[in-house]
Subunit: 230 residues, 2 copies
Amino acid sequence: MIKGLNEMLEEDFGIKFTNVALLDEAFTQASYVNEHPKENLKFYERIEFLGDAVLQLTVSEYLYQRYTMLPQGKLTRLRAAMVCEESFSAFAKECRFDEFIRLGKGEEKANARQRPALLCDIFESFVGALYQDQGKLAVETFIRKVIFPKLDLGWFDHVMDYKTSLQEFLQKDGDIVITYDVVDDLGPEHDRQYVMTVSADGKIIGQGAGHSKKVAEQQAASNALGLLRK
Amino acid sequence: MIKGLNEMLEEDFGIKFTNVALLDEAFTQASYVNEHPKENLKFYERIEFLGDAVLQLTVSEYLYQRYTMLPQGKLTRLRAAMVCEESFSAFAKECRFDEFIRLGKGEEKANARQRPALLCDIFESFVGALYQDQGKLAVETFIRKVIFPKLDLGWFDHVMDYKTSLQEFLQKDGDIVITYDVVDDLGPEHDRQYVMTVSADGKIIGQGAGHSKKVAEQQAASNALGLLRK
């Protein structure tokens, strides 16, 4: 049994595994198994195979239900930004999973514990183990704490575009009318600069500028998001 | 409402949709929506986004539980062979989904109805709609009829290798001892040909030949699978 892991999960996430062997498997790399041949251990790869698909579905379902106006292309881009090594390794660190991985000595020396690919694998294998041990609802509860709040923090705005993000952000609290207005245009015709504001129910909440109205709108939305999230 | 679709699903699969609008959405292409602007229709792409992830998990979970001895690499290869355009389009045809797709006139003329990419999409969107309407268990029941029997029919043997397939096939009915034996070698040393048999609990069930023992074993396993599945 991996020391402290169960306690950390219970304290930080209210999760208590029934099948602790499965949890150990999820945090054990092949290199560790090879160094302890007599202990008949399993390593995380099979359970990671399952966890990967569990995450894919949990995230898809959430996006599908939350962003009812987003077309498939944008949903797919958003999912790809969330379900990837960069995100999952960051989540693993945030959950302190890196502290509990069982590694072989060589891997430990090579600093594998901080390698994004491994952290990502462990995040997936943990979710696979949680799914096997406690089902889909437990995974959803965990993911609602760890992944979904990042949407509101703007982690994935870059794939959504700022106008869409702002719309989604504001419409959480009910229908709001969002308008973009040109308030100024500067410079000569061949080098025109547009200044635009964005308003929510008539109140200005952000401002931006750019060589096209499209760019100025995006700037204004980004500015508003920054102010709203403060 | 798409004529006959509900009836076909009930007759062939015992599936009856509560939200028929969702079922219609799953079988409607954008080209059809564009040609009927007043009907306020939806096309299948968003629900396909969900269905894709539902299939990925349902298949992964089944493989994970059934092939308890397969390592991650083989599980991943097997899943990729099952969850792909070629397979899904074949399943869609088998389920007669092609007959019920709503297409625009141009797409109809271009024979889009038989295009594997579209058939694959529709298979995914149907599963997405089924999941939304009736949940994961209903999807599993459907998939158990349509996809999983193909494993026993050998559709995916080429990614599994024949020896593994034979082992999985035989061990469904409990533990069986499988042995491979060289029964003959022919030809000169630089062009040796091995003849091998494969036996289950001591009874020969197949035979194969090849320039290496490895190839001869695969041939023997393939031969046995062919005979057993007759």
